[in-house]
């Protein structure tokens, strides 16, 4: 499965798709990008007259690249016949700097383990070579026969 094909299996769409492209993926790690366009709805209220990207959105970007994309890649051999259902199950994230509207962020994630349907990753998010946030995310991926 190519990195472009991985994106076609993502179960998200606008306004909640937070992966633009993948730069690299293998069974151990993934790198991807997303640009936070200034017209995103959440900037209207976070914060009033002071748009800053919410931490939950940064966490979601890390989860979509680090858990969803890597998870899809890990089950690629059976994905044609077994539709995957995914859910984030835990997050422990530290934030160091804000991300403003218009910035492009880079996410890198490294698998800690993928066992019994649970994927645990160490992940970090960067903007202009500066570390914005990092942490450990986990999710479950279950497959059902189509």
């Amino acid at each position: 499965m190519t990195k472009e094909e991985v994106l076609t299996y993502l179960p998200y769409s606008h306004p909640f798709l937070f992966v633009e492209r993948l730069e690299y993926i293998d069974e151990e790690k993934v790198t991807g990008y997303y640009t936070l366009h200034a017209d995103h709805y959440f900037y209207q209220g976070h914060f009033v007259n002071n748009p800053v990207t919410p931490g939950v959105i940064l966490t979601e970007i890390m989860a979509q690249i680090g858990l969803a994309c890597l998870g899809i890649y890990l089950v690629r051999d059976t994905i044609a016949t077994m539709q995957p259902a995914i859910a984030m199950t835990s997050s422990e994230v530290n934030f160091y700097h804000p991300v403003l509207p218009g910035e492009t962020v880079k996410v890198t994630a490294e698998k800690v383990y993928f066992r019994f349907g649970k994927l645990k990753c160490k992940t970090s998010l960067w903007s202009n070579e500066r570390l914005i946030c990092d942490g450990v995310l986990s999710g479950m991926i279950r497959q059902k026969t189509v």
Partner: protein, 84 residues
């Protein structure tokens, strides 16, 4: 392995994930990890990984699916330790 010994060891393993402290205090062979201890399925994976590490065994997918209560865990661990 003696059941009482196993119960004490499994109690330590599930402690960080168990939401029901009463069920944890009264842990016995019929205690169900999900329904009694209120461990979610994602944390149950960590319980199984901790069991693997504690007893130096490898648990297969089919065995994991059966490992829903203390007795089932004891049976699987006992069988695995005999194989060694």
């Amino acid at each position: 392995m003696e059941t009482s010994v196993f119960i004490e060891q499994i109690r330590e393993i599930v402690k960080p994930y168990a939401k029901n402290t009463e069920a944890l205090a009264n842990l016995n062979t019929s205690t169900d990890f999900i329904n009694d201890l209120k461990i979610n399925s994602a944390n149950l994976v960590d319980v199984v990984l901790d069991v693997e590490e504690k007893y130096d065994i490898v648990i297969q997918n089919e065995e994991m699916e059966k490992m829903l209560n203390v007795q089932a865990a004891l049976d699987i661990v006992t069988a695995k330790l005999k194989e060694k």
